[in-house]
Homo-oligomer: 339 residues x 4
Amino acid sequence: MHTFASDNNSGVHPLIMEAIIKANQGHVKGYGEDIYTARAQENFKLLFGAGVEVFFVFTGTASNVLGLKAMTQPYQSILCADTAHIQTDECGAPERFTGSKLIPIPTPDGKLTPNLIKPHLHGINFVHHSQPKVVSITQSTELGTVYTVDQIKELSDFVHQQGLFLHVDGARIANAAVSLGCSFRNLITETGVDVLSFGGTKNGMMFGEAIVFLNPVLSENFGYTRKQGMQLASKMRFISAQFNAYLENDLWRINAGQSNQMAKLLSGEVKKLGIQVTHETEANSVYAILPQAVIPALQQESFFYVWDESTSEVRWVCSWNTCEEDVYNFTGRLRSYLS
Amino acid sequence: MHTFASDNNSGVHPLIMEAIIKANQGHVKGYGEDIYTARAQENFKLLFGAGVEVFFVFTGTASNVLGLKAMTQPYQSILCADTAHIQTDECGAPERFTGSKLIPIPTPDGKLTPNLIKPHLHGINFVHHSQPKVVSITQSTELGTVYTVDQIKELSDFVHQQGLFLHVDGARIANAAVSLGCSFRNLITETGVDVLSFGGTKNGMMFGEAIVFLNPVLSENFGYTRKQGMQLASKMRFISAQFNAYLENDLWRINAGQSNQMAKLLSGEVKKLGIQVTHETEANSVYAILPQAVIPALQQESFFYVWDESTSEVRWVCSWNTCEEDVYNFTGRLRSYLS
Amino acid sequence: MHTFASDNNSGVHPLIMEAIIKANQGHVKGYGEDIYTARAQENFKLLFGAGVEVFFVFTGTASNVLGLKAMTQPYQSILCADTAHIQTDECGAPERFTGSKLIPIPTPDGKLTPNLIKPHLHGINFVHHSQPKVVSITQSTELGTVYTVDQIKELSDFVHQQGLFLHVDGARIANAAVSLGCSFRNLITETGVDVLSFGGTKNGMMFGEAIVFLNPVLSENFGYTRKQGMQLASKMRFISAQFNAYLENDLWRINAGQSNQMAKLLSGEVKKLGIQVTHETEANSVYAILPQAVIPALQQESFFYVWDESTSEVRWVCSWNTCEEDVYNFTGRLRSYLS
Amino acid sequence: MHTFASDNNSGVHPLIMEAIIKANQGHVKGYGEDIYTARAQENFKLLFGAGVEVFFVFTGTASNVLGLKAMTQPYQSILCADTAHIQTDECGAPERFTGSKLIPIPTPDGKLTPNLIKPHLHGINFVHHSQPKVVSITQSTELGTVYTVDQIKELSDFVHQQGLFLHVDGARIANAAVSLGCSFRNLITETGVDVLSFGGTKNGMMFGEAIVFLNPVLSENFGYTRKQGMQLASKMRFISAQFNAYLENDLWRINAGQSNQMAKLLSGEVKKLGIQVTHETEANSVYAILPQAVIPALQQESFFYVWDESTSEVRWVCSWNTCEEDVYNFTGRLRSYLS
């Protein structure tokens, strides 16, 4: 049975596995000087535009941290939602590697707006104050909500007017694009995003994330930063081959479509049980408040995380291979515990 | 045709690939709380002793850097051969992540000895001087030589008498163990090594290295260091499953045996051609001085690295899947260029 | 005329200057191995208790940052008021040097309480989350308020129950002790503070701050941290001699008494003008809301900082040499602008 | 009696002290926005040229480290003599704050040359290798020798041809200029140095060093780096006033002239005693090999450092207030121990 703990609990999509096996042919040069990597870079250019520069790394945390490093000096700060993965779930890796300060901003729904950001843009040119330089948003957010294209455009315009950069943590960027029914180009390139951390692992890959520089000036000398950041893969063909399968077959869309749809189903089913869903279910996560008493037994059968112990809010995440049966099984058990 | 550029140019051993495919069953918890990882940790305990603690990471650089971080404060220094990978090939990652100073020591053969180290153990308790804390050796070395068990034991005793720790960069530890015909337990645990960076990728795995704490006190809270170091794999089962195949089937021994044997063959064959081999061929690398004129054409056909341009010394590395035919093809071409 | 911009705009007290001149006799060893420094350390032991360890540095930022470094690993976090100097006015130095995350907590009056801290003590033992390790408070606070002895004791007990350390940014600790009418021993040692950053510069010294380790285990090897932190003074006698004059003559008390008293006077006078004072005037700072229109002209004559542009809240700080005439002159001008 | 341990054991020159006292008039803005600092900056422009930018800090280590930070990215390396202060006596502060690797190069006399540097300029554009970016020299050197103007010019040309920067650790730059009989402009500006760490403390100041950017592009945003580096003085007028006295009265020249002359005298006198002086005495330090047996008793009377225990080489440093009597007293005692 599939769990709803995280989209990284699911395994690897068969087409990805097939691509890995096929890439295992003979000797090829290491560190990205291979045909698989060249093709993967082309695939990103096809989807995002010819001007982008792309670098592959192993983990989502690395993708965020190294991307942020490319945009900041240590005396500058990074503004993000207080629910952002970089703030809550990367064990201080952003501060450690960039030397920069993070400024967490409370939001109602995980989404930043110009008005939420403005009060934090003070102390400009004041030498005692870490200087704001990057706004980092997550798309889809850690709360399962999705910025519209217009919202990102508005943020991007605002951020650039202030002389800052816009970073997108796209660990679940595919879920956002599918939710909005738009292309990566519409969502990211045309809205003016500077750097995107493009996720693969959570949506059916084995391992592998991409740092996509829409603003290619920022990628200058980035190869050294990746190496010094301990993220340069020696047998890189096995990341690149995954991305080729992921991008060439619309697999990103198919997988995200499935997980999004299952989240909608799950959300609808638990509402029928009288459960309060706390955020809009716009991507592949569902947040809900459960009676405290039913949580441990339900977790025992199918593990998931409690998001906020004070309110007994829980998080469920659907994966590329979550199916209707999984949802109905789970909500069936939930119903039995509730009664 | 297989090249001699690096043992990371080779692909993945079929048994490793099979283990990856088999591990792709259903949902399992991420970040190492899975049965594959538990089994892999047991496998390391079987080979090194029940007291060891093991953490998996993605790259060899990370394995070295995070292992060194566990042994140092930023005001302490790390002594190593001036040919050490941590000194020459990690783009300053050790300094960046540990904050520590590296002290490179010239050696004739890539191997440190107490006498080579002693002159660098000065300024002890002098507050202006970064305090020596770790000696890091590479086994087998970057020059293809191998420390004997007695040499490591002597180093370990010396290092501990001085109040320092002993780290082993074991990116090619299997090649050393096979070369010496000894077990990991003999070579590492019983000699008193504190932390071993245990390599997998260069010897037939797809990706994955292990940090083995023989001195388990040093592993306290290391999980946070790995996470902050951006090296915690979400789908960790796919590293662990590789290690299980690698360790349970004597695959480490078989693969390293093949690459060592092919290096011996290559070394012998080029000597027959009158080429000077500059270091003992004790593991899977061969160093030799070629006439400058033949290098570019030979590289064109089968890429390899020039190690020292000033002397036209080159490096050839054999892999788990290098075969006799590869060697004879290569030496045949070399012969034709020489004549 | 004296300004109210900052207590660092005032110069050096004559007794401090005299001590500096007297210390300029002959050659003495550098880096603290001199009789002035030995005596200064004794003076701190007399005031705080025989068990304390003391290290001198140049700046308040260094005093905070190096003190925090002694209490943290990079994967741990530091909780503070969102108005804390370490959060707003040290240009990210704490994150840069410690590698740790800062968690800013909103407060009504610049003072943390157990209840304000509790919601931020989550994710304990969760490897993805930077682990809370230090609570840092400022005494007197950046808002001119003062923790009572009982409030610090309550915080200290709470913090230690959670396995954390308590740090006090005491850039204005003398103002707090005078305000409360208590000794440093009552206020700091007996309440269980672990590390105090003890300020000198703002209260009549030329330069010089002390890091006082009440928990002496934390001071182990701290000499190296100070040196690597670029804060080891070669001619240290000139810091130490200042502290001797400051501590032996009750100068800390006299100076802080004067600045506190002048702040009370200023606060009372502006209230008479119908101006809203926004925080209790418990130390040497006064916060008030001025009509936006009068600020620039008043600043022109006697510079001061606007604290919050959105509300036109301003800050005035009294110094050891602020006198009644300064206050009446200033409020006189303010009155003329208001009318 | 004056010792020969270090030029920081001497106190403060009377003219410096007088300037400090005079600067203690009324309130002035902190952090360098004061008339003393403006005048000090003008003084540096007079001496080095109108294009320079100058920043004051507290310690020599800070002056080197922050200056180097302005020239490097963390993935770049800094080449220096293996006797350089940044390599041996800053407790790893350069690595810690810059994130960069230091490459120590053996020299016969503490002086780098293009030929000594060349073998270390390898791995250019090789992503695994920390990229050489700065050559740092010390003038006068840690061995008491002095680069000629031509030697610096040759180095500067070479370094710039390679796309690197040239940094000068000028903790004793005044001693070098006096030794060569040239101006700072001849020695530094016109030779093409990029950044100079200009020392004050060792030559009669109380505290205070200057980072002089000859290449002003490198100083962009440096104010934030200084603040984050914990080196922004709140009562900066007391550094600036010292520099004004130091530079306006030729005090730098008078003081360095005295210490240089006394070193020449000391060097000559000990040679008469049959003692081997190991380096040319070109500035204010003398290196000599003493019989091991006489060292402890001599140190007891007048402390000095053993430079190399293996050869019983010692270092003596003369100060601005070392006088002939000090030298003859010292050599008299040495003579008595030798006989």
